[in-house]
Symmetry: C2
Amino acid sequence: MPELRLDPVTGRWVLVATERAKRPKDFAQHDAAGLKVPPGHSDACPFCPGNERQTPPEIFSFRRDGTGPDEPGWWVRGVPNKYPALTWEPTVKPSTSGVFSVRPATGAHEVIIESPLHNVSPATMTHDDMAEVVRAYVHRYRALASADDIRYILIFRNHGRDAGASLEHPHSQIAGVPLVPPVVLEEIAGARQHQETTGRCVFCDMVRQELDASARMVLETREFVALEPYASKMPFETWVLPKAHTPSFHELDPSRHHELAGVLVDVLGAISRGLHDPPYNYILHTAPPRERCDGFYHWHIEIFPKLTVAAGFEFGMGVYINITTPETAAEFLRNCIQARDPGRNSGAQG
Amino acid sequence: MPELRLDPVTGRWVLVATERAKRPKDFAQHDAAGLKVPPGHSDACPFCPGNERQTPPEIFSFRRDGTGPDEPGWWVRGVPNKYPALTWEPTVKPSTSGVFSVRPATGAHEVIIESPLHNVSPATMTHDDMAEVVRAYVHRYRALASADDIRYILIFRNHGRDAGASLEHPHSQIAGVPLVPPVVLEEIAGARQHQETTGRCVFCDMVRQELDASARMVLETREFVALEPYASKMPFETWVLPKAHTPSFHELDPSRHHELAGVLVDVLGAISRGLHDPPYNYILHTAPPRERCDGFYHWHIEIFPKLTVAAGFEFGMGVYINITTPETAAEFLRNCIQARDPGRNSGAQG
């Protein structure tokens, strides 16, 4: 150590340097005793039941029979983002002046309110409740994928103020964007090259190799794996992938919503309990609806706990310094899961 | 608004969405009255004079005649980073196993202690003192550029704990790294394409266009400009560039050290006073020593105040959301500079 590890998908290097490492326990940002548990309902929260008029009119909801839109009675609710980063009413036209070009940021920016309860999160939800959030993701993905001018659907979640969540009430965000994200283009380029060289999907190869080695496995179910990627950019970065080759998330069979929800709850629960509810982001990576990448792209969810600060080195290089090896992180998370549920298959049988 | 602006160098989009904007004054993280001024000397600080034995032996120092290495008497001092991200004694060999590859992180990782005073920073230093820091950058750049296996020299500064500074005492970092940073490769690719298309340097074109338009100019001196880039990724992102086409920083004539130092002090001073000493990173971008990019690359310094949080959207897209237009930021910083020094040419004569 230190060592440079190559991300097999993007071809980007990550610098693993444990000289300045903390032990996993030292990452905890506050004592467990210091964790404030917010109330289950907040009159001031625009996402709490009874305050439905404080959001723009709802786009959809999963709700009890006999209740109407923008009324209580829902368990998952989708609304437009009140401060959208993308809109359908652009005020700017595409133009170029000298070296500068601008185009309108057209698209959709929506919020999925994950629960009527103010104080839950995927780390503490039941698998059943989280399965309804997964169902909402698929529902909105399908609706937005058919819209003109939308080239990609970005589904993500910010947890905690330091990870960009401006409201405490549990929610995810969905953006229908007018360009394929550079991050996804980079993955597609790397995955295409791997397929051209080997004839195989690089994500499938990675899953197979990780299941064999087991050192970076966090959790294995019938259809999914959770693992710490070999070239993790940050401590406790965790990916959730389907084992079977599946390019696009929206192909997820409804019978698998519950299983995926369970993996997310168990992994985020381990991160939350083991590291004292750190801020995190998770992002769904999926094939762009209008691109042909069936043979080599493979949808997955990337979870980034926010435990360290990206600084001058990262900004200047485009190379992350990771102070915790993914092998250490995986062992820690496996232990967190097993301590909670000794019967759970943690995926590290080796 | 919102709008997508194209970075003319890299071809990356930035999303400018001011709907959720704060006014510049609202970015201030603490009241001016709440700013703690640390002491000028700290017995516990390994970078303070008298504690020289707490660092690895010094690499160089600018010091008073009659004083010796690792003794007080210096005004700028360079030492190896005690927790290096790169070393010359690798323990890992280059190897590949399945889809995973690793190589040693060989190179140099040094700290430049910018002052014997514990409580100054470039925002509060004299131009003379900062000129000595610039001289130290050039000195170490030249020394590292001749080392085998070093492909790039990264010079950067982290200010404040939230921008990754683990020690309060003013210091910069220099890394001699074994690969050209992906961030710089992307700039080179874009700049090369501009040169092939137009025959010109894209940075020169940008400087010329900004001097004409003046809306994003912060400061202009005889040889340098400071400006808010058209596709600023973050509020108050500021670039400092030489006006004349100059690929590599180390070509900076010693007679210009003082002028560059003055621009850095004035710009960082405006950011510090106007926004209440926010955390920031600055990074020197320069041509890699062994690459041929004389015709189209142009060294510059990028300053990133840390006022907002990159979250799921940024991680998932590789596209930043910036809530403050560079035109608003430039006007604010020009006013900060003029309030301090009414005679100063702020570069916005238009």
